[in-house]
Symmetry: C2
Subunit: 295 residues, 2 copies
């Protein structure tokens, strides 16, 4: 079972890296391989024509969980196995959205196990057509498994990718799920197939959206706005993201985790976009509960 997950998650990592390299046309992923707690393949692309910075990380690890983490995860078995693929891509062009994907599997020696993951989109400028396309793609992936999954996972993404101190969602959401337990929420094969489908939906969906906009011209103001929106991304990842917090607490490699942080970022005190601008419109749409797929 473990070998099957490892093989499939590595295949997904490979396919996604190939698709992003082809889309970029210039930059290639550089791989660092670590074998200290299993196997981790950290792949980072930098300074591409299309992507400023992107990480597509695979890891499989096993070991013993410290008591504090057992409590936090609410599990009994202290011997664990975890495997996942994590992605964050920061494009050069402010019209192209940031994207994040994660698929993961976790199990303990006490028979506890679950899948988790999701994909969410963070446009610097919210574009209705793009949002609709993205949410419909996510819905199609969920519908293949079961029709009621999308609205549940969409709501979870709205709730998870939220920045309370800004009263803003990080982006336009997508899908987020956790604790999909084999035997409870479906058979192992059903859940595994769903998670693999999520992984396989990433590249075609994102590359389509990138190609729509990657050549679109932009102004200095558009670029400045991108850097400010990246600041919000950093705030979410460092203050709220559970995976990042968990990783930092457990002493996971900071460089592998923090590949999610953009190359260039900016903070301005009380920046306020002009009324009626694209920037102002975006702010009105960074809110929970927008039904993009149905609009």
């Amino acid at each position: 079972m473990r070998q099957r997950i490892i093989a499939e998650f590595k295949r997904i990592q490979n396919d996604i890296c190939a698709a992003l390299e082809e889309c970029d046309g210039k930059a290639k992923f550089h791989e660092d391989r670590y074998t200290d707690r299993g196997e981790a393949l950290t792949r980072v692309m930098r300074d591409g024509d299309v992507f400023e910075k992107g990480g597509v990380n695979f890891s499989a690890s096993s070991g013993t969980l410290p008591p504090a983490i057992l409590d936090q995860l609410n599990v009994k078995g202290s011997k664990y196995f975890a495997c996942g693929v994590s992605i964050v891509i920061h494009p050069q062009n402010p019209w192209v959205p940031i994207i994040h994907m994660n698929i993961r599997y976790f199990e303990t020696d006490q028979g506890e196990s679950w899948f988790g993951g999701g994909i969410d989109l963070t446009p610097h400028y919210v574009d209705d057509g793009e949002a609709k396309y993205f949410h419909e793609a996510m819905k199609a992936t969920c519908d293949k498994w079961k029709p009621e999954a999308f609205s549940d996972f969409k709501k979870q993404a709205d709730d998870y990718f939220y920045i309370p101190h800004r009263n803003e969602t990080r982006g336009i959401g997508g899908i987020f799920f956790d604790h999909l337990i084999p035997g409870s929420h479906g058979s192992f094969d059903e859940l595994f197939d769903f998670v693999v489908d999520v992984g396989d939906s990433f590249a075609p969906t994102y590359v389509y959206l990138v190609n729509r906009k990657k050549e679109k011209s932009f102004s200095d103001e558009n670029k400045q706005w991108q850097l400010l929106r990246r600041g919000r991304y950093v705030e979410f990842n460092l203050v709220y993201d559970r995976g990042t917090k968990f990783g930092l607490q457990t002493g996971w490699r900071a460089e592998s985790m923090l590949m999610s942080l953009p190359k260039h970022v900016s903070w301005e005190y009380k920046f306020a976009p002009n009324e009626g601008s694209d920037e102002a419109k975006t702010l009105t749409l960074l809110t929970k509960g927008v039904d993009w797929a149905d609009s």
Copy 2:
């Protein structure tokens, strides 16, 4: 008592803003005044000749603490009064250090009260002479109150301004103190005088250090290194800083708190300075327990 603290802390804010404006020569502080929970004077300077971004905030607030915060602060009285001055300054020139200062007073209706604060320096490039000057200035301020204070508060700064996931201190430390309780650690007047001395030591110490370097020429590599070091500053503030966490949890104005974040910041995956470079030397000195004042 409250009025005396408020008046003196506002005087310190004014003096510091005047000194920094004079040092910059171009930019002025802009003030936002808020009166929703007392009085807050958020003062931010931007795009100066010397300072890229700086905040010098005063606040005095009172109200009722929610149960979770009572637990966290380990206090009995839910009615509180708090007053403080908080400063973070990000210079333009990479040779000039970032600085942070905070002085604060807190009391509850159950007679619990204490002072806290500190000043710490974060050079992008550690300079032995500068570090020695800074630590000796901090020592002189502490010595005026009591000779044993400096080594205690210096150690607290080393421990507090530490980034575990990087295994680096944020900068070269300084002094940090909390829970200086009137009646236990000295009389109210003694503790108040000490905290005011800390506040008054800020401007002359920092302006002296800024003036030494503000005209020093720098390369693109120096600038890039500055942006990367600012990334570590952001990591510390968003992941570990207690004041920031507390503020975000209690719904304090995000813009006032996050004035501490630099205007331009950068993250590079696994950036490693060349052996023997100034950047590499700096990394070896971002560690606890360096006795700058005695060296």
